[in-house]
């Protein structure tokens, strides 16, 4: 485990150094990512300029949800965004190279890159979080602080699991990047708003099949001390770490299954 972390740090360190070789270009990328995602948040403000509340949610409450989702997603995107290019690895046969190295394949795929420019989105999330907290009067007790600290990485793990599961499609179809994006980037978009604004079937899909509702919505209900308009059991608010672990487990198993398929079918 420690050894694996050392190798991860080495691999990522080398990638980061090579990205930083072109400082000006890197700075522009970073700023661009920040600006684009910031414009994205403006859309939320425009909505609230026209309506005071969105399904019982105030602008600062939605901003809180938005920020939590954004930060979770940005962290995941940072570490795993390059999985978008994974189908190419299968198509051109370069996945074989990973199989002749003495490390797990998923580890090698994830450790192949760390796109630092995606920190731009992370920065946007932090700014929006600041805005949200400035307008909310949260009674910060230990539980709420702990929840805020836990919900972000748990959200990242859920996003990451969806990403990995989606990437597995490539083992069968050698394509599938766009399909996966619908769940990852799409999931990020959907979780930025309270799920009770969506129709019933979309809510069920979000909550159970792709466990995006656990990413931010349920933990946010707890932090903001809001009643669940859907009347779901209150223990769901604390379930995000468990759901994250479960999602990771499922993603890992699907990956193993996919690699087994690849090795017996020959790509």
């Amino acid at each position: 485990m420690v050894d694996t972390l050392v190798v991860y740090r080495r691999l990522i360190g080398a990638q980061v150094r090579s990205q930083l070789q072109y400082r000006a270009s890197f700075a522009l990328d970073l700023f661009g990512a920040f600006l684009i995602s910031f414009l994205d948040f403006l859309a939320v403000l425009v909505i609230f300029h026209n309506v005071p509340r969105l399904a019982e949610w105030s602008v600062h409450e939605v901003a809180f949800l938005y920020a939590a989702s954004s930060i979770s997603f940005a962290l995941c995107d940072l570490a795993m965004g390059h999985l978008d290019d994974f189908p190419k690895k299968i198509r051109d046969g370069n996945f074989d190279l990973l199989l002749v190295r003495p490390r797990g394949t998923l580890f090698q795929v994830i450790a192949a890159d760390l796109a630092l420019r995606r920190l731009g989105k992370f920065a946007q999330g932090v700014v929006v979080l600041g805005y949200a907290l400035s307008g909310l009067h949260i009674h910060w007790d230990l539980g709420r602080v702990a929840m805020l600290v836990v919900m972000v990485p748990a959200g990242s793990v859920v996003f990451g699991s969806v990403w990995v599961t989606g990437a597995c499609l490539a083992f069968w179809t050698t394509e599938g990047g766009e399909f996966t994006n619908a769940f990852t980037y799409g999931g990020n978009f959907l979780t930025q708003y309270p799920i009770d604004i969506y129709s019933t079937w979309a809510r069920r899909f979000l909550a159970y099949l792709v466990p995006m509702a656990f990413v931010c919505y349920f933990p946010a209900l707890y932090v903001l001390d809001k009643p669940d308009p859907l009347g779901l059991p209150s223990f769901l608010r604390f379930s995000s770490p468990l759901v994250a672990a479960l999602a990771a487990l499922v993603a890992g198993s699907v990956w193993r299954l996919a690699v087994r398929h690849y090795r017996s079918a020959g790509g």
């Binding site: 050894d3 050392v6 190798v7 080495r10 691999l11 080398a14 990638q15 090579s18 046969g93 370069n94 074989d96 190279l97 199989l99 002749v100 190295r101 003495p102 490390r103 797990g104 087994r260 090795r263 017996s264 079918a265 020959g266």
Partner: protein, 318 residues
């Protein structure tokens, strides 16, 4: 070191037969292949494109799981013990780049050192050796994407050997290289084989590689092993023809010499082809000298390329 017993690999592909219908087609990439390679041997694995070479190598390195049969590499079962095996083997796929494209060569080596957990002193020693033998110093700090093909191949070879593998699988290691670079690669392989006893399995289309390096050839066609033996046996068995090239004092009609036939005439120069079991070069030379005034002569051995081409085109019963 390598034991392959009755190994098969078949793939299922689907061919469209109508708007929606598809037909299931089973392709036998490798069918009932059996051979074994002792420690320290350099084996050439040859065959036309699509014969099943890469599929075999992929099964030996643990990338693919065989459909049937038994494989043991260094006492391990590749498909089940992939990670353990990976520590003990090296694999280089000619067309694929294992080095990190954007990083200087030396950094790729450093990363591999960690991936393979090579002890620091061992790493230093190996790197020093390869820097010298493969002359890596001029481009050790250059990003891989800026290297010439020859430099990159030298880098890849070093990368494959950094963790002291007992067996290396090299797929077309000299493809696209110029004569000098090819020679350097061959020298390197000869050296690691002689000094470290590394077992080498080489797939190649370059028969000079085979003549220079391999004590043994395995030839595969249509997924079946069609030849297993030495290079010279192969030449004897499937061809064994040599050519005597003579320069006469003046142009003459094609010479009529028993045991040989003239295949080409160019002014005073004539090419006489003969089978090594039917005539000796000495007898023929004497016979030619008895019929015309001889200035110079040379003997051309059969190219194994010719032999292999013959077998490829005629199939198993050539």
């Amino acid at each position: 070191m390598i034991e392959v017993e009755g190994v098969e690999k078949s793939f299922v592909t689907w061919r469209k037969t109508g708007r929606l219908r598809r037909k299931r087609i089973e392709v036998h990439a490798v069918a009932d292949v059996t051979f074994s390679v002792p420690r320290g041997q350099v084996v050439g694995y040859i065959g036309p494109n699509g014969a099943g070479k890469s599929t075999t190598v992929k099964m030996l390195t643990g990338i693919l799981v065989p459909s049937a049969g038994r494989i043991s590499v260094g006492g391990l079962e590749p498909s089940r013990q992939r990670i353990q095996l990976a520590r003990r083997i090296g694999a280089m796929f000619g067309q694929r780049i294992q080095l990190w494209w954007d990083l200087p060569l030396i950094e790729s080596f450093e990363l591999l050192r960690h991936i393979y957990r090579v002890p620091a002193d061992r790493f230093r020693e190996n790197l020093a050796t390869y820097r010298e033998v493969l002359d890596l110093d001029p481009f050790l700090h250059t990003p891989v994407r800026q290297l010439s093909l020859g430099q990159r191949v030298r880098g890849e070879l070093s990368a494959v050997m950094l963790h002291d593998p007992e067996i290396v699988f090299l797929d077309e290691p000299t493809i696209g290289l110029d004569v000098v670079a090819k020679e350097r690669v061959r020298e390197f392989l000869t050296k690691v084989n002689a000094e470290r006893g590394v077992t080498v399995m080489l797939t190649t289309h370059d028969l000079a590689d085979i003549e220079r390096l391999c004590s043994r050839i395995l030839m595969i066609d249509h997924g079946r092993l069609i030849y297993d033996g030495t290079v010279s046996e192969l030449v004897d068995r499937y061809g064994g023809e040599r050519t005597l090239v003579v320069d006469l004092e003046e142009p003459a009609a094609p010479l009529d010499v028993p045991g040989a036939r003239v295949v080409k005439v160019d002014g005073p120069r004539q090419w006489l082809r003969f089978r090594r079991d039917e005539a000796s070069a000495a007898e023929l030379t004497a016979a030619v000298a008895a019929r015309a005034r001889l200035i110079d002569l040379a003997i051309e051995e059969t190219d194994i390329e010719d032999v292999v081409r013959k077998i490829y085109t005629s199939g198993t019963d050539a």
